[in-house]
Symmetry: none
Subunit: 268 residues, 2 copies
DNA sequence: TGGCTGTTTGCATGTTTATGCACGATTTAT
DNA sequence: ATAAATCGTGCATAAACATGCAAACAGCCA
């Protein structure tokens, strides 16, 4: 009777193609807004909502009021648990991971403690991780959800990651929010120390390329001193220690202006 | 009786040729619209739809409402692709490793076949291995006896190694005796091909940084063609194929001046 | 040449898919 | 608590679709 609706099917973009692009944008930005998409593709919000509903049905996105977000990360079935990480080290890693915010860029050094941290980083926080350790890179690739940058150069087998001039130069050309230099020894009076000259130089470059530095130290590293200094304590903003760490030691670091984080004693 | 239809068979373009052109346009643009193709080839949309249906049946495109898109490249999370090296792949890897001499410097690309090669390289040959794949680097570190150099840069999760400008630049500053670019497709007439633009550029840089190039190809790679050319066959000195490789195919490559190495059929 | 077969094409038919709108329910913000 | 925004569902419409059919053409054999 009256003017019938104008069910224009489309003009230019194929429906399926539109869904793919929505998915691509979602994966890039971490979220999409229905109204924006409707304007961008020149279709009604109804169609966009239908698309998002379909994608959500396939588990490719999570439907929320106003748009959609990335699907909730798989809660890590814990199937692939590495026996190497002791329970204590995992507690330490969890506390360290809690210092990370979504969207940050992290610089992660080689080392078993840092590998433990990589296993507990949130996969849905759109983190960018720069590392010199192939083991850690592989770990994060397997978990999916991380953008991983590799530091090139010659690998020191004893360290398990690249060090040396090329690695240092490459780190200098990067910028990170947070860095985790593996600690060889840390002392409230003398600062952060490494066993090897090249290693110490690399860690120093990491710290200088980051806004903030987190040192994660098992008990045996606290108060110890090695041969090559990495940095003064003034460059270290956070120290993560085990639950069993000595109270006096903790306050010694705290009095130097560092935030001291004590790991839990039992799994939460 | 009435006006009979005018089933003009065609004017100038053969049906098969039309399908090839549609496929070319699809691979160039990533999508094709049925209506546009009908106008371009001056045939009815019905014929175009028939073409698209045939191409889709061959898995060369994905049929969608309004046209067609590139087939959903299922990158097979590579976690499972790496799961275990089949016996056939191991035979290939052994033959490839036999081309390596003591003291050489190798450039090894990412990929499951190359990972298999890394597991069978002689550990006592004082080899220097340069790789862009953290998985392969880790493999060699665990085996001990290798000097490993890492190519830095952003890691493509689908590839499992670094690609991009930074990786290419770093490869250009190295020099190797032998390189193993992972093959996506190799054709006696058209050369070596890759699926991804960045990937192809990186492989090309690898080849240019090496004295000799070895391509290790499973049967499904032989005679196939992908979208981005890596190099002419004149840059490839050695081709390693499975025992089951077609005889005619083997001689086709041999007549192009390549040394064709056929893997054993049973473990030695 | 003439008849036969197979392919390709456009057209007609009925079906499926995608869309925008209307309406009421639900959620979020104020 | 009230208003605004967003959501889900049903509906009508048109485009895109699959299918069946007959015409035109090429090749083949007699």
């Amino acid at each position: 009777m009256v003017k019938p609706p104008i069910p224009v099917p489309d003009s230019g973009v194929l429906p399926q193609e539109r869904q793919q692009r929505i998915l691509a944008k979602l994966r890039h930005d971490g979220r999409v807004v229905a109204a924006e998409l409707a304007a961008a593709f020149e279709v009604s919000e109804d169609s966009i909502r239908r698309d998002l509903r379909e994608l959500a049905a396939q588990g490719l996105c999570k439907r929320v009021y106003g748009g959609a977000l990335l699907p909730a990360a798989t809660p890590t079935p814990l199937k692939q648990r590495r026996g190497e990480h002791s329970a204590r080290k995992l507690m330490l890693a969890r506390k360290a991971a809690s210092l990370v915010s979504a969207g940050q860029t992290l610089l992660i050094d080689a080392g078993s403690t840092n590998a433990a941290i990589a296993t507990v980083l949130p996969a849905d926080a759109r983190l960018v991780v720069i590392t010199n350790a192939p083991h850690i890179a592989q770990l994060l690739l397997d978990r999916e959800g991380f953008e991983v940058l590799l530091i090139g150069g010659r690998i020191d087998a004893a360290i398990g990651g690249t060090v040396g001039a090329q690695a240092v130069e490459q780190v200098r050309r990067t910028r990170a929010d947070l860095c985790f230099p593996g600690a060889c020894a840390i002392d409230a009076a003398h600062g952060l120390w490494g066993f090897d000259s090249e290693e110490a130089l690399f860690k120093r470059a990491m710290i200088e390329a980051s806004d903030e530095t987190v040192v994660v130290a098992t008990d045996d590293k606290l108060g110890a001193v090695a041969t090559h200094q990495v940095a003064e304590l003034s460059r270290v903003q956070h120290l993560v220690v085990e639950h069993s760490a000595d109270r006096a030691t903790r306050s010694a670091f705290a009095s130097r202006g560092m935030a001291v984080h004590r790991a839990d004693s039992v799994p939460s």
